[in-house]
Amino acid sequence: MNKNKLRCLTTAVTAVLASVCFNAAAADGNEILKSSCASCHNITGPAPTTLKDLWSRKGPDLFYAGNKYRPEWMEAWLHKPTRIRPTGMFYADNLKSGEKYEVVDAAKLAEHPALDKEKAAAVTSELMKLKPHDDLIAKETIEPGTIGLTMGEMVFDKFTGCLACHEIEPGYGGVSGPEVYTAGARLQPAYIASFTRNPQAWDPKTWMPNKHVSDVNIQKIVRYLDALSKEANNAN
């Protein structure tokens, strides 16, 4: 066998091996999704349409994960998960009486299992394929720009009242919704815009009301959450 033939054969074998490895990783991610994730997450849709179904949800719906999450965040988070929802999935199940207000009963909150890096990458790859709401995403246009944190907080709190349910820094803000100090790193900008514009289009029974936020303020909220996620204390 001459050198050219050998080189050609080596290239072909490498290509086949790469293909096999890629498919194995993809199959592995799909298998993990079905065998491990699906017991707590809805990976096929549709979203709950009754309160009974809403209450039984153990983790966020993932059937539109590819429309929602940033893949780099998802992969890192699956490897090293942190709590995003301070009161768990349905806050009413996880509260106790406090000195002045109801407070979270941390003993009732479950930890999310961590995946090794290879599995986190494989699962993320599968999740990013789940895009049933491309139509909603396509309706959004994210205009480039920045906003100061002070002005952003003004919009998020005083103008739209979002602070009532969302923490803008650890330990400050409402806790029934997911924290938003990492939302800019976690979520795709067009998803933030679309979900803010019409939460029920994504999740008919969601706790988040449609506040009919103006186009201008939607753009400001997207920029604010981006700025917030880049604050040193919030980046994780």
Partner: protein
């Protein structure tokens, strides 16, 4: 014959409408309150909800008969449907028009009257 046709028509209409009504069935006021209102107004309606700590305007205590009797049923319906700003109150009370049907909001107004054990003006 006409009666038979009418009956058949009703049966068919019922069959067609059944899935719709199942999808949009009204939830009970107690369940809606627990799911959406208690995050700020508290599981017992006393205004001590888990979100209240950092709110610049505190949520209404729905068990406060004096304060609640000062509000008409129409005002309560309006503030639930259109939010606090609609009755010149806080933006922190959101509009729930896209979450509840009018029927469900009427149910919540009745539920609020049970919580405060009061009526408008009494």
């Amino acid at each position: 014959m006409l009666t038979n046709r009418a009956t058949l028509g009703l049966v068919l209409a019922g069959a067609l409408l059944a899935p719709l009504s199942a999808t949009h069935a009204a939830e009970s006021a107690a369940d809606n309150y627990k799911t959406y209102c208690s995050q700020c107004h508290g599981l017992h309606g006393d205004g001590k909800g888990v979100n209240a700590r950092d709110m610049s305007v505190q949520p209404r205590d729905h068990t406060d008969a004096k304060a609640m009797s000062a509000r008409s049923d129409e005002a309560l319906f309006k503030v639930i449907k259109e939010g606090g700003l609609a009755i010149e109150k806080s933006v922190l009370m959101p509009p729930w028009a896209d979450t509840f049907s009018d029927e469900e909001i009427h149910g919540l107004v009745k539920y609020l009257r049970e919580l405060c054990a009061c009526q408008h003006g009494q």
